[in-house]
Symmetry: C2
Subunit: 354 residues, 2 copies
């Protein structure tokens, strides 16, 4: 589908293409059949869903499409979203882990999400049982916002017992899917869904994970996408710590407390975060401080007191979307920048020092 | 003292030196006073101790002085030893940690030492309460051997409740100290003692350690001495896991089971260890295989069916003592080489394949 958009800049001219041209794009047979001989009944459920309040479609070329997700190799062409579309442009941290965590693991997911959600990061997860649910709940209970990327159409909730949680998420964040209305849960959907969870996020935190689990797939995808991977260690007698220990051996950052993550995301952008005594480094950045200062200067020069989208800031500063994302997080936590619903940013008005 | 030995090749010519020459060597005032006007009563306790069976003095130039310890910057000039002096030439793993571990930490120290002691590594620790004691006991109970490096003269046992344990260690391994007979425990002795624990060993395993603890000093010394550092992770709610987590962040190898250590020491020497299914890597060495194979060939060429000391093997092969140590461990675990009490090595006689 990305090939289609690259060639024509949007889906509409497709309907004027020949079957041979469509086949050359590698489209699926069912998609070609629909394009050559459109049957409106096939998209009626989507259109009916879209007519409901709070439901949105976001295409790859839409300015509301999340910049970090657009960077990944197999970015979904279309996102179904229920809730606040501005969530997509917010700085996100993925929190994933076992569907059957220990009590300590569930608690860690909840506490980290509550703390980090309260600090301004959107907590993104997969609405699954266990760690996912604890992360969504922690973010909501901490007054933060959360995004659930699911493996079904958004007219359904899987697992069914998370109906109430899904409702809270749609009200205070967003439910997101690449699957059309009416699509049920299928095993092959979940690994696909995981690339969106990691792709939306600056980094992925793995709380508890067995060896060869879906959470490790998400972590691997995050690493392949050039994002940070964080893992919480545990007792060597806890089988659900094994996955995290394996990640740490492969280079994931070992984290003991939420401030470790804020500090790391801060260092990613080259400055020590002022996040309080607990997690703050005493000195400045270890390397590249001068250059980074220059990049911050460029970004701050682009920012004004009128809100700007991240895409505009990327274009203005000449920095990558990832760098701008993390620098905005740093500046926001530092009180120099504020964000508005809709994913726009402006400089915090300060009074002149006397 | 090392300066003395380097200039004269031994301590005896000192007694012909002038006070000015002695001062130029940076010797302590009390040592100079003794050399200029020797008072035999000062060394009588040492001589009386040395006359007892099982007690030994090993000087830096003695062939029995451990090769790995000789490599460190501030190697002790003299070691007092009670037990089997051949222990000094054996391949050692230091196991250190908190004096007040959790039940799980104590158990881990015991289990790792029991397993690794049984696999042929000498377990070296500091005779302290907690992790040290559990490591010595695990090694002994597993039929292995163990070395205790202490911070007092060897006529004393500190802490006193380890008298029985010290006795077992002297019978099945060795008690080692750089402090003369009659010296009691003093706080400044223990950090000094730690450099010997790490300096004797191929690597140091830290089991549980608080932030800013003596075990972390040992780990830092091991790293500075170019040795491996291993750390066992734990729950983020366990304060005694913090020190280990800090080490892992700084590059220590995260270990979950004893085979992780055998595997790592094997990779150190460039080959995958055949240590059974649990810890064995499937393939060969990842890098430098060809060169390493050549080094193994050189070492095996030096080895015959008559036992040779490690010093002889170092001289013959032209490799460093550290490389020879770890390669001998690998070859020993692989069944190609056997060692004898006294720290000598020979090729295992194999029947020709039919």
């Amino acid at each position: 589908m990305q090939a289609v958009l690259e060639r024509w800049g949007g889906p509409l001219p497709l309907f004027e293409a020949s079957r041979a041209e469509l086949e050359s794009l590698g489209l699926r047979r069912t998609a070609i059949d629909f394009i050559v001989d459109p049957d409106p009944s096939l998209i009626e459920p989507d259109l009916a869903w879209l007519a409901e309040e709070g439901n949105h479609l976001v295409t790859l070329n839409d300015p509301a499409y999340p910049a970090l997700l657009r960077e990944i190799a197999d970015a979904p062409a279309l996102l179904y979203l229920r809730g606040d579309p501005a969530m997509l442009g917010e700085l996100q941290l993925a929190v994933v882990g076992s569907r059957t965590p220990t009590a300590g693991g569930r608690r860690a997911a909840y506490d980290f999400a509550r703390h980090l959600g309260g600090a301004g990061l959107v907590i993104t997860s997969g609405l699954a049982l266990g760690v996912d649910a604890a992360a969504h709940e922690g973010a909501l209970d901490g007054g933060g916002r959360t995004v659930a990327v699911v493996g079904t159409g958004l007219d359904r909730v899987y697992p069914a017992r998370h109906r109430e949680l899904a409702h809270r998420i749609a009200e205070r964040g967003a439910l997101v899917s690449e699957f059309p209305v009416g699509v049920g849960p299928r095993p092959e959907h979940f690994p696909r869904r995981n690339r969106i969870i990691s792709g939306l996020s600056l980094g992925t935190l793995v709380v508890e994970a067995a060896v060869r689990s879906g959470s490790l797939i998400t972590a691997r995808l995050a690493a392949e996408q050039g994002r940070e991977v964080f893992a919480i260690p545990g007792s060597i007698h806890n089988p659900l710590a094994r996955g995290c220990h394996g990640l740490i051996r492969q280079g994931a950052k070992l984290v003991e407390q939420a401030s470790d993550i804020l500090e790391e995301l801060g260092q990613l952008a080259g400055v020590a975060l002022a996040v309080g005594a607990e997690g703050a480094a005493a000195g400045g950045p270890e390397t590249g401080g001068g250059e980074r200062d220059g990049e911050y200067g460029r970004l701050l020069d682009c920012l004004g007191f009128d809100p700007l989208s991240m895409d505009r800031l990327v274009a203005c500063s000449g920095l990558t979307a990832e760098a701008v994302s993390s620098m905005l997080l740093v500046l926001e936590l530092d009180g120099q920048v504020e964000s508005l619903p809709g994913g726009t940013y402006f400089r915090t008005p300060h009074e002149e020092p006397q």
